[in-house]
């Protein structure tokens, strides 16, 4: 079972955005994290979380769907192996990550047995923290800025996407060699 090519996947993502626009909504996934904080009672400590979360119920349902979509794909639609550029796989091996071409996620970071490894745990928590903090500070993530915002020719989204790539390149080229 081959992965879908970029020229299939990209247009389907655009279609997702248009379907949401036609039902009156704006494509953006990271705002769900704020909604979940609000449901968890974060409004008690910050105004930022004081809003009617029910207005975002639709987006939480999209999240539930994405979870189901992930399950269906993993079980029935994929052999769960990602083939990457051989040079990239070679470089990952020098970092001790040897599961390229045989897994969907690196076993060295996302294997259940790694959860007792403090270094891996720190990578997952800090990575998640930066994603959550950065997305809200920047007012959106890959879907809200790189797809919705850039499609709508928003300059702030261009600045945010440039930031995404500065951060990503710094992480991979300067921090990974220290980290692994």
């Amino acid at each position: 079972m081959q992965p879908w090519a970029w020229y299939v996947s990209g247009p389907l993502i655009a279609l997702t955005m248009f379907v949401l626009l036609f039902v009156g909504k704006q494509f953006g996934m990271s705002s769900n994290l704020r909604t979940m904080c609000t449901i968890g009672g974060a409004g008690k400590v910050s105004n930022f979380f004081r809003f009617d979360w029910k207005s975002q119920r639709w987006n939480l349902i999209v999240v539930a769907g994405a979870v189901i979509g992930g399950f269906i794909s993993n079980q029935y639609l994929s052999n769960n192996q990602v083939e990457v550029n051989p040079k990239v796989a070679e470089k990952l091996e020098t970092y001790g990550i040897n599961s390229a071409n045989e897994a969907y996620m690196p076993k060295e970071l996302f294997g259940m047995e790694q959860l007792s490894n403090p270094k891996v745990l720190a990578i997952l928590v800090i990575g998640g923290f930066l994603v959550g903090f950065g997305a809200r500070y920047a007012g959106g993530c890959t879907s809200g800025h790189a797809i919705s915002g850039l499609s709508n020719l928003q300059l702030p989204s261009l600045i945010a996407v440039i930031g995404f790539f500065i951060g990503g390149l710094v992480m991979i080229h300067f921090i990974f060699p220290i980290l692994f």
Binding site: A14, F22, I126, V131, H145, I166
Partner: protein, 137 residues
Amino acid sequence: MKSIVYLIIGVFFGIIMYKSEAASWFRIYEMFEFGAFHMYGIIGSALVLGAIGILLIKKFNIKAIGGQRMSLNPKDKGITRYLVGGILFGLGWALAGACPGPMYVLAGAGYLPILVVIGGALLGTFVYGLLKSKLPH
């Protein structure tokens, strides 16, 4: 009734993310190594088609279902928040290898350590809420 529509959109989106491998840590790493065109093709084609579609929507004043206006809100002006927030997001995106859509897809796919990433993302969102008034925007 409308809930079913959102659920179907979500399932559709989840399958696209997984089958395109945009949800794979390896693909994100490969993208930042400039090792393949794949991720650039996905994001690039989505936004080129998106931009053409939105231009047409504006030109012909196309309305959403029920005659309501399309939710195409302009972003607030500014530089600092987008650049600094964007860089922090990018650092996390490359480190965890997942952004806020694929996180849920991966949870459904059974990669349970992603729940730690989601927990971290909720914490990051919460801390932003606490610090918001003190941060330059």
